[in-house]
């Protein structure tokens, strides 16, 4: 008997990455039997974020995002404007990746996105149908580092070996993946400048956080994360009715039509007081709303809510709830700015958890047509207005979940349409 279980190896493999992570993964689980992608990648959806139809869904129709995810923050190898030859190489690498894996959760869902710093390499400005400024602080109490690498490749699959193989082939460490020989890799054009911060990994799904909580910095030693929870904080999120549609977040016109903007934050989680100082009802109040706790709407991890968090039912009297309960809910605060005038949800959030560096954190990608929509929702989530309503709601205490999450990094990205996914020009 060894002290390491199959489960232990698998749960560490994607975080470890590289040949070692892949080899550990294959030794235990073997190679996933996954179909290849289409011979002609142009038959794939023009929207790189067209994941909704291709992921698992629960009984209520909520998207179940791929269980294993990797974010590669790549820096251009050379100064100056990318050359046509660079563009051809990247296009060949991306086409190879598309051919290697079927576009679904068993295969690979992925996207390539570009930062304002990337578009700054060009003389002409980013087309004015795209609103994506450089990242900036979004609360009066955060001082995040800003991700200003050039290219963000996001890989997601239910199979850990698939994301690892895809990464290796894309970065040129292997010649191919899933039986497809790569015509090119990104090597020589873009690379991880500092692997310790530029390669980030994560996971999402019921059971995965609980399985990884032992010995993790940020989660108390008594293992409070419920087995059924898809996230460390113990509740489900991303209910279908509270998410924007892919149609809604699509850029409507110009050269980036069918693209979108993507904010990605990394938030460290510190859950000792979340679980240690608070009752279940208090956690429900702070995650959803005081009304959710009063009405007993949330059972366990909240999957009983179905496809709707019911947060819209709590927005009419937010200030009164703050005064009465001395607390306010995270979801209700944010929702105040996350609806357009017709009641449509503005953001499509696709966050997942991480144990990078042995620390519990959340990778928070959010898609929206315009970046200012994200900024507005985050401003509403700060609840600064509510600290003026009652001193019981403080800047970071009794103010949703702000006490327990620490923004470490923020980055803003343009996700071009698939036909322009290889080193797009700004116009």
């Amino acid at each position: 008997m060894t002290g390491t279980t199959r489960r232990d190896v698998l749960k560490a493999a994607v975080a470890a990455g590289g040949a070692a992570g892949l080899s550990a993964c294959l030794d235990i689980a073997g190679e996933s039997d996954v179909p290849q992608g289409p011979d002609d990648p142009s038959t794939l959806p023009e929207r790189q974020y067209a994941w909704g139809e291709y992921v698992r869904h629960d009984d209520h129709g909520n998207e179940q995002l791929p269980r294993h995810q990797v974010l590669l923050y790549l820096t251009l190898a050379r100064d100056g404007t990318p050359t046509e030859s660079d563009r051809e190489q990247v296009a060949a690498a991306f086409d190879s990746l598309s051919r290697a894996y079927a576009w679904d959760h068993e295969g690979l869902l992925w996207s390539a996105a570009y930062s304002p710093a990337y578009f700054d390499r060009y003389d002409e400005p980013l087309h004015d149908a795209v609103e994506c400024p450089p990242p900036h602080a979004l609360s009066p109490f955060e001082q995040p580092a800003f991700d200003e690498q050039h290219l963000l490749v996001h890989l997601a699959s239910d199979n850990p070996d698939v994301v690892l193989r895809a990464e290796q082939a894309l970065l040129g460490e292997e010649d191919g993946a899933n039986g497809v020989s790569f015509a090119a890799s990104l090597d020589g054009v873009a690379a991880l400048a500092d692997e310790s911060v530029d390669r980030r990994t994560g996971f999402v799904g019921a059971g995965m956080p609980a399985e990884r909580q032992a010995g993790l910095e940020g989660v108390p030693d008594d293992g409070p994360v419920p087995e059924a929870s898809p996230l460390f904080m113990g509740f489900a999120a991303g209910f279908a009715q509270n998410q924007a549609t892919e149609d809604y977040v699509a850029i409507e016109s110009g050269p980036f039509a069918e693209g979108t903007t993507k904010h990605v934050a990394n938030l460290r989680q510190r859950l000792a007081d979340w679980y240690g100082e608070q009752s279940f009802e208090e956690r429900v109040m702070e995650m959803f709303s005081p009304k959710h706790a009063e009405e007993g709407w949330v059972d366990g991890v909240g999957t009983n809510l179905g496809d709707d968090s019911r947060v819209d039912e709590t927005l009419a009297d937010v200030e009164a709830q703050a005064r009465e309960h001395g607390r306010i809910g995270h979801a209700q605060k944010a929702a105040r700015a996350n609806r357009d005038e017709d009641g449509n949800v503005r953001l499509l959030r696709r966050h997942f958890e991480s144990t990078d560096d042995g620390v519990a954190s959340l990778h928070f990608p959010s898609l929206q047509q315009r970046m200012s929509e994200f900024d507005a929702v985050r401003t509403a989530m700060n609840g600064t207005d509510l600290t003026g309503v009652t001193p019981a709601v403080r800047q970071r205490v009794n103010n949703g979940i702000l006490e327990y999450v620490f923004v470490v990094r923020r980055g803003n990205w343009v996700v071009p349409p698939r036909s322009k996914q290889a080193l797009p020009r700004p116009q």
Binding site: Q143, D273, G388, T390, P391, A392
Partner: protein, 344 residues
């Protein structure tokens, strides 16, 4: 590193009334006496008094930071009207405290989100939002108990949020940005255990307070002296808090509205430490409304509103107790308030 042992010298504690007392001087925090069973609903002298040490001071822009520490200790959290005892946890090694102030004026920044990140050799040891607290010797500060990974050198980054409390006068537009400073903390359990610790059975429960510490290079949380405040009308007491009520001829810059400016400066008895983060309403003349939490260089932290005119009397009613945690001796005071009236 600048270390100071605040209590070991000719400090206020000896003068604070230990003369003639038989309080033990020990170096063991384990002997903390039980919480008194017959505490007054008022400020009282605690069962024991602890000193503290400076780890280091830091700076960022116009902000100054001080990181101090002592034995882990019990404190009481206040959420709404609820006062809840937080006991020392077995893994706690220190009580870490931070004070943040404006270098130009010495104004301590209250009511903002403050967090500590503790690292050792680049590895994360802890990170928490720490709570605003009131203690008798320090007044307002931020503090929490922390467990560490044994003796050694830690890097402690203190991050303070931009102030959302209304700012007026010369403070209008200031303190809006976050800032952080990293300070070094050389921790040794033996050194911590050398911090002064005294049981005070002869005075425990008495209606008195441990004297304020004054420490070089670091302001404490004292309110502006009454004699320096403009237009003082009178003073009242409620919930054992002292409320100095005054009227300025005009509202300070940064306060909307015309007419005069009614304010209340609330402080602890004995030590006159600022009591922040409460809610209160006032009525006088035609005015009836909230006194808004405000930070002003002349009035200090206060509660104020523009009023058209002041009547013959000013009624003030606290509607929520100060939302700050309390060190022992303050947890039963400033919790329930009766309305007050000051005659003009």
């Amino acid at each position: 590193m600048r270390r100071r042992d605040f209590l070991a010298g000719a400090g206020g504690l000896a003068a604070a009334g230990l003369a003639g007392c038989s309080g033990l001087v020990t170096t063991e925090p384990a002997g903390a006496p039980p919480v008194l069973s017959d505490r007054p609903d008022a400020v009282y002298f605690p069962t024991h008094v602890e000193g503290m040490k400076m780890a280091e001071t830091g700076r960022a822009g116009s902000y100054r930071f001080a990181l101090t520490y002592s034995y882990p200790h019990r404190f009481w959290n206040v959420n709404g009207r609820e006062v809840t005892l937080t006991e020392i946890a077995s893994e706690d090694d220190v009580h870490l405290m931070t004070t943040v102030w404006d270098a130009d004026t010495g104004q301590i920044l209250p009511e903002t989100g403050l967090s500590l990140e503790i690292e050792r050799d680049g590895e994360l040891v802890s990170q928490e939002v720490i709570y605003p607290m009131l203690s008798q010797p320090m007044g307002f500060h931020y503090g929490a108990n922390f467990g560490l990974d044994g003796d050694g050198t830690y890097e402690v980054t203190t991050a303070v949020g931009g102030v959302s409390t209304r700012r007026s006068g010369g403070f209008a537009g200031r303190f809006a940005d976050p800032a952080s400073a990293t300070m070094q903390f050389d921790f040794s359990a033996a050194e911590r255990d050398g911090i002064r610790y005294e049981n005070t059975p002869d005075r425990a429960g008495e209606r008195a307070a441990v004297e304020p510490m004054s420490m070089e290079g670091m302001p404490n949380g004292r309110a502006r002296p009454t004699e320096e405040l403009p237009g003082v009308v009178g003073e009242a007491t409620s919930g054992d808090a002292r409320v100095v009520v005054g009227v300025r001829d005009t509202p300070p810059e940064g306060v909307d509205g015309d007419g005069r400016y009614l304010y209340a400066s609330v402080r602890t008895p004995y030590n006159a430490m600022v009591i922040p983060a409460m809610a209160m309403t006032a009525s006088t003349g035609d005015f009836e409304g909230e006194l808004v939490r405000t930070l002003d260089p002349e009035l200090g932290y206060h509660y104020g509103a523009a009023v058209d005119a002041v009547g013959d009397a000013i009624e003030i009613e606290p509607t929520l107790p100060p939302q700050t945690a309390r060190h022992e001796g303050y947890e039963t005071a400033f919790v329930s308030f009766d309305p007050m009236e000051v005659t003009v």
